[in-house]
Symmetry: C4
Subunit: 228 residues, 4 copies
């Protein structure tokens, strides 16, 4: 594989970060076997770092990560990139504010996606992180830009960092890869809680005003100063 890119320290660190973040997907049981992936935009370049295809999570390291351009062409790395690379690349091309993308088939989020139902905003945690209902994206086949376009169009219509792709599974985005992983963890958690709440009755919805207040506070006040 041609070395079209010089691997600097920053690069090395980003590949290591992306490799390690896959550990959060297994820790929270969002993925099985090799079926989920994290990517990060390389700051200052039209490049991204992404998981290789079909490689198990135990074997991931900075060295096995693949670097591609924003059309999914490999510029560094010995392995073929994730089969979802085209979708990640499309998101980076069309959402410049996004620095990280995650895709899983996590159980409860995928169950909502299989029915084509958005997750209603009935928990303060949903208002905090997603700012409203978590939307459903279109059914799209892998192989061209259909999945990427479906993600971007759905996310642009609201403020949720997560979209449930129909019959497929969730994609999440964030300012950084870590933020996108956090959204992937949280979308599964709330998908499960709202599923369980809905199994025995109807959860009470939050008002739009309460959702707006919670979202504004969480996005601006939560965590340590200067970190977020």
């Amino acid at each position: 594989m041609s070395l079209a890119v010089e691997i600097t320290d920053t690069f090395e660190e980003l590949r290591d970060t992306v490799a390690r973040l896959h550990g959060e997907l297994t820790r929270y049981e969002l993925v099985i076997w090799t079926a989920g992936n994290v990517s990060a935009r390389v700051p200052g370049h039209d490049l991204m770092v992404i998981k290789p295809s079909g490689v198990s999570y135990d074997e991931l390291s900075a060295d096995t990560m693949v670097v591609t351009d924003l059309y999914g062409e490999v510029v560094h790395g010995d392995l073929a990139p994730s089969s979802d690379t085209a979708a990640h690349a499309y998101v980076y091309r069309h959402m410049p504010e996004v620095g990280g993308v995650v895709h899983t088939h996590s159980t409860y989020a995928t169950a909502w996606a299989a029915r084509g139902e958005p997750i209603p905003c009935v928990l303060t945690m949903i208002a905090d992180e997603f700012g409203g209902d978590i939307p459903v994206g279109p059914f799209a086949l892998i192989g061209d830009d259909s999945i990427g376009r479906g993600i971007v169009e759905t996310l642009r219509a609201g403020r949720s960092p997560a979209v449930l792709m129909r019959n497929h599974g969730p994609f999440t985005v964030g300012r950084t890869a870590r933020d996108a992983v956090k959204a992937a963890v949280m979308v599964e958690d709330v998908a499960k809680t709202v599923h369980i709440a809905s199994a025995l009755g109807t959860p009470e919805p939050l008002s739009g005003q309460d959702i707006d207040r919670l979202y504004a506070r969480y996005q601006n006040v939560y965590g340590q100063q200067g970190e977020k």
Copy 2:
């Protein structure tokens, strides 16, 4: 951060205890990411020890814990305290018998909270630990004393150490932080068992008399002598 409080050995031990007790929240999968917190009243002072905001459970140690007064003002520690500090502080100000407070968004307990339904006392384990149905508290926005007031008013109306805050999640209290963590573990366990029992029929309720006998025995006889 000003050192308004001298950190004695007892203090150090309490900070270590509170840091370690967060490990029980992850062990029993009551929390994801950074979304849950434990606090302890400092015996003999109008102070409490609480988790810092937005810090992951892997990074917690005695040193990262925050000490605040009972209005949530930091008196020791380099980090901002949990965004739920006001609720914990309100509980300590109004319930002098309480030495520990825990908040999680554990899945099944939060599902009952999303429907605004108390967990019915249909298991000996619920009678033992909670002494009756586990009550629902009001919906309250973060940012002032509303959550704390909702917790205290609901808990004072019965003998349960747990309250399911509507659309939000459970808060539990105890004589010590360890007791509050135990109640957090148990409220999720019984929330799950009763959910599952209710999914295929109607669990049989215990009589008030049986509940009273079980509660009295468990509170007074269980465990090692002189420990509880």
Copy 3:
């Protein structure tokens, strides 16, 4: 505590075995906090080894185990025995073929117990291990022989090594403590599978003849020669 019993090597080994077997309860998530216990009959003595009350699973070792007679009176050990000791002791007094007893509040088995419904024999695994439906025992308060009597009367009416005590949880027995633990693991597993099967329809029952054939084969052929 008086040393009424000489602790021989065999004794020591049994205390170690019982302590270690609690690790299977936590491994399979059948218990939380301190809420479940294993005991073993001491071969050749009217004695049993049982978990101490209210001690966490991380702290169990041969030394912390308690030895009691078959009326629950402590004959060796520094700690108070499990609050379920009377039930275990009653079983050993009335079922001489039983060498081990286990009690948990495992989630799905307890859910069936809360509705007072036996688990129907709709899986080959249930026929193999339980030889038919898994029966429900009566509701009984802790404090006298009621629980023990309920267990024994229910188990004697069939060939299942497990009974679902109403509003309480499962008790299992075995030729050895290890066999009783195996039954505790399996009762939760099949309770979960049959619950899930029943949530979307009605599982097909096995015929009595098929159940008898499966049970006979599993009890006599399975495993290594001479081991079972």
Copy 4:
């Protein structure tokens, strides 16, 4: 046990591989106690390597694995082979393209089997790996060729590598033992997701054309070049 076969390096490696693959069954919680098994055809011989009966997963190693001919007769190893050996052997005799077989009683797949319902192809992941609905096989008693015949007849009628044996549990096959384990992990994952999706409504089916496209792509393009 007679040493009818010389244990070469290749043999040794295969026994080690089969022993280790059982670790994936426990990692993904597809099995409890000793209730599940992996086997592999020995390339170039009419032999297979399989788990010993009733031995716990912690104790498995290359040395404890059993080698049998394709009628289940032991040719190497000190232990009795899995009680499911006849079923594995039947598959190898009748499906020459199969190099690995796995059997579990994983919870959600077994729940579909208990109702005798195929898992409908409503997820891209099902189309990818299973190429359509995941079929149900007949009820069959252990002890002769009934189970093996039921597996082979059901698998031959379609392209799924998994069959849900009625009232029993899933069997999966693959070109290698690793592929069969992957199918076992995936059948449980999609069994769970589709169960949950179906609990609150009806998941939308994929069209036959979309299923064919997804299957063709996944079988030919996914993973690293030359690996699959």
